[in-house]
């Protein structure tokens, strides 16, 4: 008895170097072309070969925002995969394993199916190379769930075209062999997820790609960086598009140089950024203060991973919030944005540069491994290129400079705190700024009154900027009893958790913050009733930040710091435990 599911997860596992993620992304592309919605989550160790990696693709007939914990079909390319993930299978689910690997010596589950298929042998025979079993096993999966394999073929054609027709053909033979191999097991596998033909084409991308695209659209033309997981794909993406879009990218000697170069480029008038993770950001701290002091627009993309130090290099955490908020000595205005979805990552990508130039100060974009690396399908119009605005803030025009009386005041005292900008190059714009306290011209000045006024001027920009910080997005019931608060990448899991809680009659809503600092005007008024902060860290840093900024103390905190992303189940289980506990008290 087969049933069409509206929600199904397939997990492939094996060693690093087996091509799990690339084949998983290819399969996800095929699913999206087949009119289905996907959420793909890679899980890998910090090594090039060996170890245990897995990639989970969740498939549904409605848009997805999150991964989820149950697995319906497990594709095991080694025994370790069976050992580790057999427990995640739902009753009725199945594991497909390579005949040559056999099964590990662990108790068999009676409620799941075990499908032995000679994956390596078939890949060798049909494609000429046993390594192609990663492609083959996904074709087996397509056969089992009843998904039309022509979509997999179309992806193989597109993705391997540049390697020549012979490679395309061998992939097509492997796909056919996989589908064929699935036939004897189709009757036993109970879950179906057939294609929905004729759906409009959709995009499939992760947070890093979406942010990079948004930054490019927003006029970023200079990217300096040092490789560090999970931020470096942004540097790679920009380098790959540099020539076509007129961007300068450099891999430099360290993160100190990376931010200093971006600051130099920003000073000279180019929209500049550096992508990194928390460790790299640690090295950038002094330079961040330089940008604040000398009022240079610059963007830092900080894709968090667990800390401190090296910690879990390929995993996720939201543990850097209060660090980036306070990084560098002294006080200066900074803006912190934390996108939660692919769409938000794109929008934050271009907004960050407008904010940096409008307020002539550093903007930090806080992403994390979960958002940076998980893939989701969105409609082309969800990356809203039409909405992109390039607003460079207050600039002196050529004519204004030509008619300027006296020397240019780079750090002119103004009501807003923003001093009209001019970049080096114009004869009337000649000026020198300094990381020392300086006067309106930029000259070093130790006078107390000047210090007081110049520091106030800089800090005033924070209040000016606060007026355009956006309030959190609300999702769920308007008159909820329970308000769950999230920031950054927990958007997806919490959104789904809220749906599930409301289905159970709990009357919940989500407030999701993308604009983190300065905390938007009017935030206090939204924090009413029972509030629960949901964060991927140990202490509840955003809850502490809200208390500092608004005086509101959240009722409870749902936290996670094991390096793995928060799932909808993790949230609902905690919430239900709180509410059941309360019921038993009354």
């Amino acid at each position: 008895m087969q049933s069409q599911l509206n929600d199904l997860s397939i997990r492939i596992g094996g060693e690093a170097g087996m091509g799990l993620e690339s084949s998983g992304v290819g399969f996800s592309q095929a699913l999206v072309r087949g009119g289905l919605h996907v959420f793909g989550l890679p899980d890998y160790h910090s090594r090039i070969r060996g170890g245990h990696n897995f990639f989970t693709v969740r498939i549904a007939r409605r848009p997805l925002y999150s991964h989820t914990e149950p697995v319906h079909l497990l594709l095991a390319l080694d025994q370790e995969t069976v050992r580790r993930h057999i427990g995640a299978l739902v009753p009725g689910g199945a594991v497909v394993y390579d005949e040559k690997d056999g099964l590990p010596d662990i108790p068999r589950r009676s409620d799941v199916h075990y499908f032995s298929i000679p994956l390596s042998k078939l890949a060798e025979e049909s494609g000429g190379n046993a390594i192609m079993r990663n492609t083959l096993v996904f074709a087996v999966a397509a056969g089992l769930i009843g998904f039309d394999p022509t979509y997999i073929e179309s992806v193989a054609r597109d993705n391997f075209a540049r390697k020549g027709q012979a490679v395309v053909d061998s992939n097509l033979r492997v796909i056919a062999a996989g589908v064929e191999a699935s036939r004897p097991f189709q009757a036993d596998f109970p879950f179906r997820m057939e294609a929905a033909p004729g759906a409009p084409r959709r995009l499939l991308l992760n947070g890093n790609q979406a942010f990079a695209m948004g930054a490019l659209a927003g006029g970023c033309r200079f990217v300096s960086g040092y490789p560090m997981t999970p931020g470096s794909p942004v540097l790679e993406w920009m380098a790959g598009h540099a020539e076509e879009y007129g961007v300068v990218t450099l891999q430099v000697e360290d993160e100190i140089a990376a931010l200093c170069m971006a600051i130099g480029a920003g000073y000279a008038g180019v929209r500049a950024m550096t992508p990194t993770s928390g460790g790299g950001f640690s090295l950038m701290v002094e330079a961040l203060g330089l940008a604040g002091m000398t009022e240079v627009p610059v963007v830092v993309y900080e894709a968090q991973r667990p800390g401190p130090s090296t910690s879990l290099a390929t995993r996720t955490e939201q543990g850097d919030l209060l660090f980036v908020l306070h990084a560098s000595q002294g006080e200066f205005p900074r803006i912190i944005l934390a996108p939660g979805t692919v769409e938000q990552a794109f929008e934050v990508g271009w907004r960050a540069f407008n904010l940096a130039e409008r307020y002539q100060t550093p903007v930090i974009v806080l992403s994390d491994h979960y958002l940076a690396t998980s893939i989701r399908d969105v409609a082309p119009e969800d990356l809203d290129f039409d909405a992109v605005v390039i607003d460079r803030g207050e600039w002196l025009t050529e004519a204004e400079l030509d008619n300027l009386e006296g020397d240019y005041k780079r750090h002119q005292f103004t009501e807003s705190g923003v001093s009209p900008r001019a970049i080096p190059g114009h004869p009337k714009a000649v000026h020198a700024s300094s990381s020392d306290e300086h006067d309106e011209y930029g000259h070093i000045e130790e006078n107390a009154e000047n210090r007081r006024r110049m520091h106030e001027k800089r800090m005033r920009k924070l209040e000016t900027a606060r007026a355009e910080m956006r309030l959190p997005a609300a999702y769920g019931l308007n008159d909820a009893d329970l308000t769950l608060i999230a920031w950054g990448s927990t958007y997806g899991p919490l959104r789904e958790a809220v749906d599930r809680l409301n289905e159970q009659g709990l009357r919940a809503q989500m407030l999701h913050f993308t604009d983190i600092w300065p905390v938007p005007h009017g935030t206090e008024a939204l924090l009413t009733g029972e509030t629960i902060a949901v964060e991927g860290n140990y202490s509840g840093q955003f809850a502490d930040l809200l208390r500092m900024a608004t005086g509101h103390t959240v009722s409870r905190r749902i936290l996670k710091w094991d390096g793995r992303p928060i799932s909808p189940e993790y949230i609902t289980n905690h919430v239900l435990r709180f509410t059941n506990h309360r019921k038993s008290e009354t």
């Binding site: 200079f222 200093c260 170069m261 992109v388 390039i390 700024s433």
Partner: protein, 290 residues
């Protein structure tokens, strides 16, 4: 016609009377004028230290940055606008302690900077600690037993890192110092000039009297070949009663970093209009993820 007076700033230096920085400051201004560069065509980038205040005393575009980070900031400026002649002026602590890595990488990169090191072989602004170029055995407040480290050899390091212009000058010969800077301003890639700069307050050893009888000019020898790297290495190791100054090494056959960047072929980034992506560009980006 650009003159030295064009670079005159209303701000007066805070340097001690007799400080070697005065000669460097004058030489920079003279060299810029001789090279025909006006204040708006120049960007002086410095770090933190006595010598790094030079941009504050000079009417030109300038940026006084962080201790040790002069070169990466200057690199960013140069890549954003390679029509600006970017000149770094910073001390030996800045360049050879905190910033040594950046110097070597700038040399490898051959980025078009003139990098002038005000090398007084002591920390002046923090009041007399030994520096990376202090002689071994230098007694200071932080090296009461005499320093145990050997001094860095900036000339040899720059050569080893692939620098295409490596020179030394000193504050006691304004004419020669100016000529050396002019020559560096004409170089296409990274140009290092290590300048002996007596610190009259904290370094009594490496004084004008110490250097004057010892320094001799490499270019006085008509047979000295500035394109011979091994000869340059040999001269870099020469130290003692005779200390060579002048251009140790100069080759013009390696393109500057910025000359090789495809995106800079159409002119400086900073001078190009910044516009939204065109519809066909958007379409191409979307196709990549379909």
């Amino acid at each position: 016609m650009v003159t030295v007076d064009d670079f005159a700033s209303p701000v007066r230096p805070t340097w001690c009377t007799g400080c070697g920085n005065f000669a460097i400051w004058n030489a920079v201004k003279r060299a810029l004028a001789q090279a025909g560069l006006a204040p708006h065509q120049v960007m002086l980038v410095s770090g933190i230290g006595c010598g790094s205040k030079l941009p504050d005393y000079t009417r030109a575009n300038g940026y006084m940055t962080l201790h040790g980070r002069t070169v990466p900031v200057a690199t960013g400026v140069r890549l954003a606008n390679h029509h600006l002649r970017v000149v770094c002026t910073h001390g030996d602590g800045d360049a050879y302690a905190e910033g040594l890595g950046h110097m070597l990488h700038a040399a490898r990169r051959n980025i078009g900077l003139v990098d002038i090191i005000q090398d007084n072989r002591i920390y002046g602004l923090t009041k007399g600690q030994y520096s990376p170029t202090s002689d071994r055995g230098r007694v200071s407040k932080t090296s009461p037993w005499g320093s145990f480290e050997l001094p860095v050899n900036p000339i040899a390091l720059a050569l080893a890192a692939g620098a295409t212009f490596v020179a030394r000058a000193w504050s006691g010969d304004l004419q020669h110092l100016t000529e050396t800077i002019v020559r560096a301003l004409g170089h296409r890639g990274y140009a290092l000039i290590d300048v002996f700069q007596p610190c009259v307050t904290f370094n009594r050893q490496n004084s004008y009297e110490f250097y004057r009888p010892r320094v001799y000019k490499l270019q006085d020898d008509p047979d000295y070949d500035v394109t011979d790297k091994m000869a340059a290495f040999a001269k870099a190791l020469e130290w003692g009663d005779r200390i060579p100054i002048g251009v140790f090494y100069q080759v013009e056959d390696r393109p500057a970093y910025e000359e090789q960047v495809p995106s800079l072929q159409a002119g400086p980034l900073a001078l190009r209009p910044l516009e939204k992506l065109r519809p066909e560009q958007v379409q191409r980006l979307l196709e990549e993820v379909m």
